[in-house]
Symmetry: C2
Subunit: 140 residues, 2 copies
């Protein structure tokens, strides 16, 4: 039961972006060197984040990425969904919580409940929350 680095990187990169941005776009290269994440790998993630309308891109010199929406409107579960990491703990279960198992499957309720817990928790945190947390850590 591990969150993939894809999801971890995406969240970290967005916090980093939001922390260092002052209205201007931030280049992916900056984020890469600051967070020690492979540049090319980060690019792939940002393609997805752009398509998911989490960030928007500015091309050309001085360009980079910036948030497509206020940080308070970006939930952590959205970020993870966008980089295509499933939050559903078993494969027989759909994203909406329904399950294709037979009715005599007694363990269904465990995974269904677990999925709900995970979803609810990650939906309760926004990028703004994490950025504030980051600022607090920088101060101390």
């Amino acid at each position: 039961m591990r969150m993939s680095t894809k999801a971890q990187y995406a969240v970290r990169a967005l916090v980093s972006l939001n922390l260092t941005s002052d209205g201007d776009p931030v280049s992916i290269k900056d984020i890469s060197s600051r967070e020690n994440i492979s540049l090319n790998y980060l690019e792939q993630l940002f393609v997805k984040l752009r398509r998911g309308e989490i960030v928007k891109s500015v091309r050309g010199p001085g360009g980079g990425y910036m948030l497509a929406r206020p940080a308070a409107d970006i939930r952590v579960d959205e970020i993870i969904d966008t980089v295509e990491e499933t939050l559903v703990p078993v494969s027989c279960m759909e994203a909406d919580g329904s399950c294709s198992c037979t009715s005599e499957c007694a363990t269904q309720s465990v995974w269904q409940g677990l999925g709900n817990q995970i979803r609810t928790f990650l939906a309760s945190m926004t990028l703004e929350d994490l950025t504030n947390e980051g600022r607090r850590r920088l101060d101390s």
Copy 2:
């Protein structure tokens, strides 16, 4: 973020065992055919479950496995721990929730909180709960 089949099979197999047992040991072959899980694979899981003192084995004809403790004393998170599936969502974090990340890692709190949620939820369910759920499904 998927629970491995190892964990899923272990829980299903134990529910099945507890449902069909009437005090006598249940052979792994029975469970295998009832739950459609590879016999040899199940064996591996039961070795771990035995070492983890979730089940005990009875060898020879008429033998098999039985619960080592009352079903009400076996929590789901214990089962999953025993078959060696980690419940900690990121690798930098220990089982006790402590993290080896640097202090400026702002995403730590997400994974830490998520890990706690998962652990707490799975610790709130026992094998007895699931068995009762199974009985209810069989009746209807």
